[in-house]
């Protein structure tokens, strides 16, 4: 018991240090993937072939490559074509590009769930595309978008652990490093797992608050 506590006090600061990186990667990738996913979704619902076709191909392509391979690609291959990112940037980049594809589909489903009549009546009073999107469509689509989006954010948070393989000292990597030098596998990875659960619980809390905001009376 004494050893458990002593180890805990020794490991915790290192793991929390890694947790900061995990949070940074996750928050950055959530913001970027959501923004990019939204732009992609606008292309996907466009009726112009030259707009939606390239984006559709890109999304299908990205969805078909494992995130881990994408991480390797960004970190090890892109420098060869002159794009040098550090490990942290590379992991954010890979996560953002990968999740943008999923988020585009979630946005698309939300936008398509709104009846055509909403577009027509908004057009008929003279609103422009962007006004219709932001004032009429998205506020209603949010109800459809938020539940799967929230789940996707939680998966993204957990997938940030893949950054460990390209040397980012985030939570998982920090745990690995402690475990290999102390052989306290059980305690280290239990602590790592519990920190992830805590993080996902916090994220889930915010998602639920967001969902409540968009409920229609």
């Amino acid at each position: 018991m004494e050893r458990l506590i002593k180890n805990f006090l020794e490991f915790m600061p290192i793991l929390l240090n890694g947790t900061v990186y995990t949070i940074e990667i996750t928050v950055a990738a959530i913001i970027l993937s959501t923004a990019l996913g939204f732009v992609f979704s606008l292309a996907l619902v466009s009726d112009r072939v030259w707009i939606y076709r390239p984006v559709r191909l890109w999304i299908n392509f990205i969805r078909g490559v494992p995130l881990l391979v994408q991480m390797f690609y960004v970190y090890f291959v892109m420098p060869d074509i002159g794009i040098k990112l550090n490990a942290m940037q590379a992991s954010i980049f890979a996560l953002s590009v990968c999740y943008a594809s999923y988020h585009a589909e979630i946005f698309r489903a939300g936008i398509l769930s709104i009846p055509k009549g909403q577009w027509e009546s908004a057009k008929s009073i003279g609103l422009r595309y962007w006004q219709i999107m932001t004032r009429v469509i998205l506020p209603q689509a949010a109800r459809v978008i938020l539940p799967p989006m929230g789940t996707s954010y939680i998966i993204l948070l957990k997938d940030s652990s893949l950054a460990s393989v390209i040397t980012v000292r985030e939570l998982t990597r920090s745990g690995q490093l402690i475990a290999t030098s102390t052989f306290e596998n059980m305690q280290v990875f239990t602590m790592v797992a519990l920190i992830y659960v805590t993080l996902t619980q916090i994220l889930a809390f915010f998602i639920q608050r967001g969902e409540r905001k968009f409920r229609i009376s």
Partner: protein, 241 residues
């Protein structure tokens, strides 16, 4: 002329739904459009504010060709009101906000004044006290009247009604028709797709019968109903009158 259609042709794929339609609407005129389902009467209405693109011909609203490259279609639409069969209110906004959204975003009227205007028009359609209710809390007839207030608030040059009472319970039809009759008597220019023949007789100045994308009858409502020239119109009226 507030609205002019010149040789308008419209296709859905192979199917021609409007065949060389030519029509002029004078200021203050109330025109009722009837016809069998699928005849193109709704489409005829929807080409006027550009909700449906056309393949050839011209649509002119208050002197402006709506398809001319220099024309801002959004501006035209803000001058042409439209009321839909299924109301199409914005369910996430209360009655006031449904009515003042266009005022604020299109006409750029500051919020307090826009709100005031919205109150005025909701009162005009008989919805005092319902201003802060959401569409889901209103009856069909009340929703349609909010939709009419939404169109009116933009102070349009003409309002298009696309079967405004077809989705309503029979006992709610009256309140919407009353509102429309009041508007007609105030001199609003209206194009109304509807099978409410009582309305056509009372305030309609012209009745148009559309069949297979053609206007086959046109004239004073009571006369057209009594003595249509075409067999198709005759059987139609005999069924609905």
């Amino acid at each position: 002329m507030i609205v002019q259609l010149k040789d308008v042709c419209k296709y859905f794929g192979e199917l021609q739904v409007l065949k060389n339609i030519t029509l002029s609407v004078a200021r203050g005129e109330v025109i009722v459009i009837v016809g069998p389902s699928g005849s193109g009467k709704s489409t005829l209405l929807r080409v006027i504010n550009g909700l449906e693109p056309i393949q050839s011909g011209q649509v002119i609203v208050d002197g402006e060709d709506i398809h001319a490259p220099a024309t801002d279609i959004h501006l035209i639409r803000s001058e042409v009101g439209m009321v839909f069969q299924s109301f199409n209110l914005f369910p996430h906004l209360n009655a006031i906000h449904n009515v003042n959204l266009g005022l604020r975003l299109v006409k750029k009227i500051p919020k307090p004044q826009a709100e005031e205007k919205a109150f005025f028009y909701l009162q005009k359609v008989g919805l005092e006290g319902k201003e802060y209710l959401f569409p889901g809390q209103l009856s069909g007839g009340q929703q349609q009247r909010v939709a009419i207030a939404r169109a009116l608030a933009m102070e349009p040059k003409v309002i298009l009604f696309d079967e405004p009472t077809s989705a309503l319970d029979p006992e709610l039809v009256g309140e919407v028709l009353e509102t429309m009759i009041r508007l007609a008597k105030e001199g609003m220019t209206m194009l109304v797709v509807s099978h409410e023949m009582g309305f056509a007789r009372e305030v309609g100045q012209r009745l148009i019968f559309v069949d297979y994308g053609n206007i086959i009858e046109e004239g004073v409502p009571a006369e057209v109903m009594k003595n249509p020239n075409h067999e198709r119109a005759k059987t139609f009226f005999s069924k609905i009158l």
